[in-house]
Amino acid sequence: MRNKYVFGGFIIVLFLGFMAYLFTQSNIKYENDFAKVKSQDKIVKATGSWVKEKSYEIDSQNRLFSFYMVDNKGNQMKVLFNGTMPNNFESAKSVVVTGEYKDGCFRASNILTKCPSKYEGQNVENMKTSNL
């Protein structure tokens, strides 16, 4: 009788651990290497920054917004987003796009922009002069 609970408890703990591991695996992962983004065909969160030299395009007919992104190794890719441009896109420091790479461009379902903070530290000399 006692054995039954030990054995059952063992099975539960084992599978619970396995399930917890699987839960961390199945979530969408961040990826900052576009070479990897291009080679795999699953949904990822690609992080990089907007290429300002290749300006963005807005196709209001098809509600398409497209721009080029670059990662820290210099790989570029075109991003297509079905929707409007996010408000603070132009001032964004870095961009996170969720979606997958298909037919030569990244189809994003969501765009997150990271903006420079208003409250960045000033050095002490500047503060003194600005106060005076």
């Binding site: 039954k4 609970y5 059952g8 408890g9 099975i11 539960i12 599978f15 619970l16 396995f18 399930m19 699987l22 839960f23 695996q25 199945s26 699953k42």
Partner: protein, 221 residues
């Protein structure tokens, strides 16, 4: 043991056919819920992720309305003492589980058929994946709802306690099944859904062993 469990299932089936309590409440709930969703959508085009979410919302709440009766009926009719005498706890649980499994499978097949007829966005592109997810999801739902029904049968406010208790227990299952339904609607292959399938399988194993272990204590007053 298995013949006794089968006899218990036959008894439940006969009393269900006589009163049709669970079947009626399930069918009513499914019809009402789906028509409310249809009216509220109107001409709006809804996405695949929304329909697969709604699919499991309907299943969750219809399970809440129909499956809670398994042990409550025994308590109300005062027949639980007889069951104590004639069968061991695991036999009683097996009998109830078989009955709930069949009920859940019938109910969810109806919901799936209605959804694929009535919702344009609910098109199952990978049928094998959907079937596997459906079977595992249903087993998990039946096991969890049977053990929760046993727990609440002794409590006072049965109607409200049931959904409240089952929500945290069923949440991982429902979330994963929503993801799986979405994947099968998008036509993804098994490779893309392997983690979700493994999660649902683990959930089933955990619930089965856990409920067979716990039922001894729940049943022994």
């Amino acid at each position: 043991m298995s013949s006794k469990a089968y006899a218990l299932y036959k008894k439940d089936l006969n009393s269900e056919l006589r009163t049709r309590y669970a079947v009626n409440s399930l069918v009513m709930f499914i019809i009402v819920a789906i028509s409310v969703i249809l009216f509220s959508i109107g001409n709006e085009k809804i996405t695949q992720s929304l329909t697969s979410g709604l699919f499991w919302v309907v299943i969750f709440f219809s399970a809440m309305s129909g499956l809670s009766r398994a042990f409550v009926a025994e308590e109300e009719r005062g027949t639980s003492l007889t069951l104590h005498l004639i069968a061991s706890p695991s036999t009683v649980f097996s009998g109830k589980l078989i009955f709930n499994l069949i009920l859940v499978f019938c109910m969810n097949t109806i919901v799936a058929v209605l959804f694929s007829i009535l919702f344009e966005a609910f098109i199952i592109r990978n049928f094998a994946l959907f079937a596997v997810a459906f079977v595992f999801g249903n087993i998990g739902l039946a096991v969890a709802s049977t053990i929760i029904a046993a727990i609440i049968s002794k409590a006072g406010a049965k109607g409200t306690l049931y959904p409240v208790l089952s929500f945290p227990i069923l949440l991982p299952l429902i979330l994963t099944c929503v993801q799986l339904t979405l994947l099968s609607n998008q036509g993804a292959d098994f490779e893309a859904a392997k983690f979700e399938l493994a999660i649902v399988f683990c959930y089933d194993v955990i619930m089965l062993t856990g409920s067979y272990m716990l039922f001894d204590f729940v049943w022994k007053d």
